[in-house]
Amino acid sequence: MSAIFEVRNLKRSFGGLAVTNDVSLAMAPGDRVALIGPNGAGKTTFVNLVTGNLTPDSGEVRIGGEDITRVNAIGRVRRGLVRSFQVTRLFQDMTPAEHVALAILQRDGRAGRLFGNYLAMPEVMAEVGDLIGKLGLRDQMHRRVREIAYGQQRLLEIAVALALKPRVLLLDEPAAGVPQSDTGRIEQALADLPPDLAVLMIEHDMDLVFRFARRVIVLAAGTIIFDGSPSDATKDPRVREAYLGSYANAGHAA
């Protein structure tokens, strides 16, 4: 199968420290990949590099076969490469409905319209209601973001990404800060994604990782030390040492 998303020999260092050190990976449509690794391994930096929020020192990023290394962040989103943020980036005075509507309108090339209001666009409202309902935000949809709980803001962050109908979706710790009782909603939303969408999820919750991913990539100190099936990951001694070990020590079953 041909790759929808491909990274070749990506490198970036900050002040002599190689935070992303020769990272290469490829994903096919429909892939469900978990990117794991200890704190400071360079996972968020990797996402920033491939989405164009940071410039790599060298290496190449491709989407659908097209080299997008020189394309800016906006162009990458328009080509279907969408991310969510580890630390929620939302508009405090806007409502969840407005966030999702804005993403939908932008996706359809209608966000520049000077007249009309999304509340009066039935097809937009239907999609907004659908996504918001799926993530359990229906009761909050017309309240301002600053008034809703952080866990719900995390869910909205995912709804915004999904509203853009990506081809490749990069989720940076989507469940961090979401109460245990609500992680089910994230899982359900992920399970409902179109089957041909490629998803890469950074996540610390190993239970979530094992249920979601058919492939696990382990990043440690900026280098990929493992790329394979979840069950093999738990057996790999290097992975145990770098990452899972610390979980096992913390009393988390690995």
Binding site: T51, N53, A73, I74, V77, R78, V82, R83, F85, R89, L90, F91, Q92, D93, M94, E98, A101, L102, A103, L105, Q106, R107, R110, A111, G112, R113, L114, F115, G116, N117, Y118, L119, A120, P122, M125, A126, G129, G133, R138, M141, H142, V160, L164
Partner: protein, 335 residues
């Protein structure tokens, strides 16, 4: 599911109707104030018309500063360019129909907006402010030097607009100009209410808060802001044209740093990020200026300064913003 969708639709319709109500109330307030002004100050319509023109400038400034977070102390460049374009069209090209002059002013404002936007939006924060100050001085100096077109420091005189629609001559008492100005302001206000609530308006509010988030949604803050600058230029240009038509001269003061700074003061006084705030600030500031400067010509600026300090310290959302916030809290408490 169908129940939920129906409830949403109902809630949405209710929200829309409430906003429409606010729009109509806004228009009603403008027209009511206009009538009151006319009855109270029949001999001072010129001041009221100037107030209307400046209100357009302050609304225009609110679009880029209040809604998009752009820092500028050079916004009179858009207003003055509109005024000079309308004036030059009349004096040098014989375009004396007031509506055509208005169109020229709007066009001039749009071009100035494009130009200023392209320069100012290259920077952020303090450098942005400095760029805007440099720009207004350049515009001022350019108008001063091009005196064969602009009349230089003597001003551009000899603007003689035709009767409005061929029916209403611009009279000595300024009645036609006053009505023309009020209708113009009401139309602009109604259009802007639509724009700030449109998808484009949402995009602008988003950019003000987090441009990186907007980029991650695939929208370009640069393109959006330039577009807003052009809309802002159209509004300020309309104000400039109104000033040229009603006073029949255009002076360098319409293209000055002072006017730019004063319009920012008016906006902050009334409250940024709200069209009502822009109107409130203009009315309060200009009346205050008129009354206080007549009562005490030496210390009126001191008093304006004191008023501004009081507002910034005790009502940081501006006069309208603070009143609106109090009213909202009151309503919340009663529910």
């Amino acid at each position: 599911m169908t129940m939920a969708t129906m409830n949403d639709a109902l809630a949405a319709a209710r929200g829309n109707r409430r906003k429409l109500g606010r729009d109509l109330a806004g228009l009603f307030v403008i027209l009511a104030l206009a009538v009151v002004g006319y009855l109270l100050f029949p001999n001072n319509l010129a001041l009221l018309t100037r107030m209307t023109a400046i209100a357009l400038l302050v609304l225009s400034l609110d679009l880029v500063t209040g809604y998009c977070g752009v820092a500028t102390l050079g916004h009179a460049a858009l207003f003055g360019t509109g005024a000079y374009t309308a004036g030059i069209a009349a004096v040098h090209f014989g375009i004396t129909d007031p509506l055509l002059m208005l169109a020229c002013g709007i066009l001039g404002g749009v071009v100035a907006g494009l130009l200023c936007g392209a320069v100012i939006l290259r920077a952020h924060g303090l450098p942005q402010l400095v760029l805007s100050i440099a720009l207004i001085h350049l515009f001022h100096e350019f108008a001063n030097k091009a005196s064969s077109w602009t009349g230089g420091s003597d001003g551009l005189a000899g603007i003689a607009p035709d009767p409005l629609l061929g029916l209403f001559a611009f009279d000595l008492w300024g009645r036609t100009a006053y009505v023309f100005g009020i209708v113009l302001l009401a139309v602009v206000f109604a259009l802007l209410r639509l724009v700030v609530r449109s998808p484009f308006g949402m995009l602008c509010r988003g950019i003000k808060e987090d441009p990186i988030r907007i980029r991650a949604m695939g929208a370009s803050p640069k393109v959006t802001l330039i577009k807003m600058y052009m809309i802002s230029g159209a509004v300020a240009g309309a104000g400039g044209a109104l000033n040229a038509i009603s006073t029949q001269v255009v002076g360098l003061d319409s293209l000055s740093f002072t006017l730019s700074a004063e319009s920012l003061v008016m906006l902050v006084l009334g409250g940024t990020g709200s069209l009502f705030g822009a109107l409130t600030g203009t009315i309060v500031f200009m009346f205050f200026e008129d009354i206080v400067s007549a009562a005490n010509p030496f210390h009126w600026l001191t008093m304006v300064g004191a008023l501004l300090i009081a507002v910034v310290l005790f009502a940081p959302k501006g006069l309208y913003g603070t009143i609106a916030a109090v009213a909202a809290r009151w309503q919340e408490a009663r529910r």
